[in-house]
Subunit: 192 residues, 2 copies
């Protein structure tokens, strides 16, 4: 028997996306977004939702571009900081000691110290209520060599991304690998 806890935005996992943008003066900024995810395979697209009051909202609207960098767990304090203050009031790259790396594909910076970064061109924005959803086409994925595994893909166990738990307001690490997708369930299929 399940208990009702109301109409809440609680689902697991949610990501810790660090959204990189430039403001109108070319100052780099980064903020956290837990509301988002991949939304299309072809063209490859990613969605992030932001409140209108954020500095990043303004920047994406002006530049039509953003990046998403994936912080590794060693940088959990820096990642948390990026969600605590606005780029209007503080130079968050400077304060956190993180380095903005200018994308060659879009007018937005990604975080050099984080192992995985997606460079996105704004395709559309939709007002949903408190949040606006931005959909960006992923033009490229940049990866640190030391997190690449077999098949030239970054391994989740090496990237060590953060997971955010809404409600609890806590960060979690990735645990053990549980096995291969499109494989573990084959014994349940009627035709194997």
């Amino acid at each position: 028997m399940k208990k009702s806890i109301g109409a809440k935005t609680i689902v697991y996992p949610t990501p810790v996306f660090v959204v990189g943008t430039y403001d109108k003066d070319g100052k780099p900024n980064a903020m956290d977004a837990a509301w988002g995810g991949i939304c299309c395979s072809s063209p490859p697209c990613l969605a992030i939702s932001l409140r209108k009051v954020t500095y990043t909202y303004e920047n994406i609207m002006a530049q039509k571009a953003f990046t998403v960098s994936i912080p590794t767990q060693d940088f959990v304090s820096e990642a948390d900081y990026l969600g605590l203050v606005s780029g209007r009031n503080e130079d968050k790259f400077f304060r956190s000691g993180l380095t903005p790396e200018k994308s060659k594909l879009v007018n937005a910076p990604y975080v050099k110290e984080f192992p995985l970064a997606l460079e996105c061109r704004l395709l559309q924005s939709t007002e949903l209520g408190l949040h606006t959803q931005f959909i960006g086409e992923i033009l490229d994925v940049k990866v640190d060599m030391d997190v690449l595994g077999d098949g030239n893909f970054p391994e989740m166990g090496k990237v060590k991304p953060l997971m955010y738990a809404p409600g609890e307001h806590k960060y979690y690490a990735v645990g053990q690998c549980l096995g291969k997708a499109f494989s573990l369930g084959k014994n349940i299929m009627s035709h194997t």
Copy 2:
């Protein structure tokens, strides 16, 4: 120095959302979606992206409703199976031994054995390319009592959700708690 791996849908973590629907004859179906996430806090909304060829696409279009159940890691094989076959060809609830529980709020079933379920009313659908994005308003969240922690919220460490790693095509478990959000980064702020 980062390496370019091309325009790929690789980001960590992505969720394993089990999307529950009824078909036109009232037969329950469930499928996996890794492309999705929360997209608005008010109204509380969740986005999932599906290909048009899926049975679930048809069902959501017809019923204007769906649920998202979060499988716990003990059910990783069942969850994987739900992504391997189409509900057009197999009764996936029957084969997997999972139980469809009819939502009282929307015309869609959730998975009784999974600890967390969101009941959603379709708000909009957008064709993005290979995938169509469905945005649903979260009308309620149902939680198993044994995963509730302090503050009446499900604890991620108790829910033990799955994480999917695109590219690698592997599932991962949740690891240790790394600390409190909106807190770890306070020492970096200029005004504390």
